[in-house]
């Protein structure tokens, strides 16, 4: 899996997802896409646009509002040998199909001692954007990381968006692909030929010596913005994007922390029992007796998501709040230095209604 470099073709994150799905549908007639609105004129923010025209209505189709049964539908189709991709406009809606994901999809291979398997892909979009509030902004990756039998991918770049989608489709197990609405417009180099991301392979996006910042999904963008702020006060941050949350590449993260001695995890969800808890605990276990390190978890503030922008700005970690808290972790007194505001374009420039 190569890192995107200048000179190649640029696509947006949304286009990269769309290309991955199209290419896999061409490759394998068993791949199909379904979910509320996937064949409508907006095509799930463009990612499934016109697939029903190209591949036919039985390979890209709308469904009733019935997340529970529609997930079971995917599990059954997968058991029967197909490769369904179920799309959810918001990850919050997965709360309606936890039973099928956790009690059914995750357990079929095991309960049959390997006789059946469930190559199901569940695409779940995290909805921060425009006053989405308490029920349209949540991310539940930690729920799926908790359960043996499920895999979880959370690409943050267009390159990984394509690679992860292809990896998820080709994998023989249920895979949750967590996308983020605020990443959809981001552009980057994406090779045209199909390629698959590797499960359990983190990506070091920037090297540094003083602190390891592990950032998840959209928080990768904010962490990369925080890096120059930290550089201003002489802190060099290594930015690690796990990409694959389950399986998780603890090795890469721990090696980075062994070097820097500091770990900050910036998550797109609440800290308690979240991915950050897992990463801090796993690195602690890995490095104990070898290297002491200080740690910090950042994520959604411990409240439901408010809708008004001034509170949203407090609720979500930003480049500024990341920099400030990482600086404090590195022993800078709060009075010493004030991180600049850096505009998060994808948020500042986003226009509603949705």
């Amino acid at each position: 899996m190569s890192t995107g470099r200048r000179g190649g073709r640029e696509l947006s994150y949304a286009q990269a997802i769309g290309e991955a799905i199209r290419q896999e549908m061409e490759r394998d007639a068993g791949v199909f896409v379904y979910g509320l609105g996937v064949d409508d004129p907006k095509g799930m923010y463009g990612t499934t646009l016109d697939l029903h025209r190209v591949f036919g209505a039985d390979r890209c189709f709308d469904t009733p509002l019935a997340e529970d049964a529609m997930t079971g539908f995917g599990v059954g189709a997968a058991i029967a040998g197909m490769r369904p991709i179920h799309v959810h406009q918001r990850m919050d809606f997965l709360m309606l199909c936890m039973n099928q994901l956790v009690n059914m999809a995750a357990k079929q291979s095991y309960m049959s001692n390997g006789a059946v398997h469930v190559p199901l892909v569940v695409r779940a979009i995290i909805g921060r954007s425009w006053g989405q509030g308490a029920q349209h902004s949540q991310a539940f990756h930690s729920y799926f990381m908790h359960v043996p039998g499920l895999k979880v991918l959370a690409p943050s770049t267009p390159h990984d968006a394509k690679g992860c989608m292809i990896a998820a489709i080709r994998d023989d197990n249920p895979v949750i692909v967590m996308e983020h609405r605020m990443l959809y417009g981001n552009r980057g180099i994406v090779p045209e030929a199909p390629y698959a991301a590797r499960f359990g392979q983190a990506r070091v996006l920037a090297e540094g010596d003083d602190v390891t910042i592990v950032a998840i999904s959209h928080m990768v963008v904010e962490a990369l913005r925080a890096r120059p702020l930290l550089a201003e006060i002489g802190l060099s941050a290594e930015i690690v994007d796990p990409v694959s949350l389950a399986p998780l590449d603890v090795g890469t993260i721990a090696e980075s922390v062994a070097k820097t001695g500091r770990l900050a995890v910036v998550d797109t969800s609440w800290a308690a029992c979240g991915a950050g808890a897992e990463i801090v605990a796993a690195v602690h276990e890995r490095l104990q007796g070898r290297r002491a390190f200080s740690a910090l978890r950042l994520g959604y503030e411990p409240t439901p998501c408010p809708t008004t922008r001034p509170l949203e700005d407090v609720y979500y970690p930003s480049a500024k709040s990341i920099a400030a808290k990482v600086a404090a972790l590195a022993g800078r007194a709060p009075g010493d230095w004030q991180a600049r505001d850096i505009v998060a374009r994808e948020i500042a420039e986003f226009r509603g209604p949705f």
Binding site: L36, G37, D40, P41, K42, D62, T63, P64, L65, A66, E67, D68, A69, D92, F93, M95, L96, W130, G131, Q132, G133, A134, Q135, H136, E301, P302, T303, P304, P306, T307, T308, R309, P310, L311, V314, Y315, R351, G352, P353, F354
Partner: protein, 316 residues
């Protein structure tokens, strides 16, 4: 059939108020002062108004993210609603709810939800509690036909009928869930029959006639209040604007201009305006405009909530 002038005035006033409020939202939306997804009821007002005309202040309402119309029809406070849309401190929930989660205990509108179908079962518990304490109030729950795809509708209907709970189910059948036609989601669009499968008496009111809706709701509310158990109304309707946001949506191509035009032609707002004398109409219109102007001003002037308030009310 003729209708008494007071009723016409009352209904027109509500229709006009809701329509004009939402038109103001449309007007203001491009300024980005409302940083919240808005799901407008323009074109659908007659359902909220026709049904809520039969509810008293003690009756309880649950609804969806498409909640402006029912909130106002239930006697909602426009100042606080607008302030909530603006995300301001004096909003109904001080900026924590936005357009999708309007609620106001004072108006008996408990809660609305952005997850389709999820207030349906809340109506069960609330109705159970009302009955337990011997209240004469009933619960009315609004939802789109999309919610009837969800299993929770069926679990809710079954339990409501089993326990004969005082609930009026009101389905606003605008035939679309976002851009999905109900025919693409159901083998046959037999919503009333689905309710009747649970022995809930059901009626379909076609065409959007506000008097028909009001009359059907009156009968249903009386039956529910009398202890007859739940009732179900399917009100055919049509939204004129896009599923979410202030825009028109014919260019998207999922529905036809002719379809929309036929519903616009049946606009109850215009119809009732025509039934009123000019004087009454002008008076009402002026009152509505004055209320809206005040509310906009109220919302504009209210401050944004302080950062520390974000941590309030996670728990009681």
């Amino acid at each position: 059939m003729t209708h008494d002038p007071a009723t016409i005035e009352r209904l027109y006033c509500q229709l006009r108020r809701i329509r004009r409020v939402e038109e103001e939202i449309v007007r203001i939306y491009p300024t980005d002062k409302i940083k919240s997804p808005v799901h407008l009821s323009i074109g659908q007002e007659a359902v909220a108004v026709g049904v809520c005309d039969n509810l008293g202040p003690d009756d309880i309402l649950y609804g969806t993210y498409r909640g402006h119309a029912i909130y106002l029809a239930k006697g909602g406070n426009l100042d606080r609603m607008m302030a909530e849309l603006y995300g301001k401190q004096d909003g109904l929930a001080a900026g924590k709810a936005g357009s999708m989660h309007l609620g106001d205990v004072a108006a008996g509108m408990i809660g609305t939800s952005a997850i389709v179908g999820t207030t349906l079962p809340l109506s069960l518990g609330h109705a159970f509690a009302l009955r337990r304490r011997g209240s004469a109030a009933i619960v009315c729950v609004f939802f789109g036909e999309g919610a009837m795809d969800e299993g929770v509708f069926h679990e809710t209907a079954n339990f409501a009928a089993l326990k004969k709970l005082p609930i009026l189910f009101v389905c606003e059948n605008n035939r679309y869930a976002i851009y999905s036609h109900v025919k693409d989601r159901m083998p046959e669009v037999n919503l009333c029959e689905r309710a009747e499968a649970y022995r809930i008496p059901a009626r379909r009111i076609a065409g959007g006639d506000i008097f028909a809706i009001r009359a059907a709701a009156a009968e249903a509310v009386a039956a529910v209040r009398a202890g007859g158990g739940p009732r179900f109304l399917e009100c055919e309707t049509q939204r004129w604007r896009d599923h979410v946001g202030p825009g028109e949506d014919l260019h998207i191509g999922y529905r036809t201009a002719a379809d929309l035009a036929s519903w616009r032609a049946g606009d109850q707002n215009a119809r009732l305006a025509g039934l009123l004398g000019a004087a009454a109409r002008e008076r009402i219109d002026a009152e509505v405009e004055a209320e809206i102007a005040r509310a906009m001003d109220f919302a504009e002037k209210s401050p944004f909530p302080a950062a520390h308030t974000m941590y309030d009310h996670v728990y009681r």
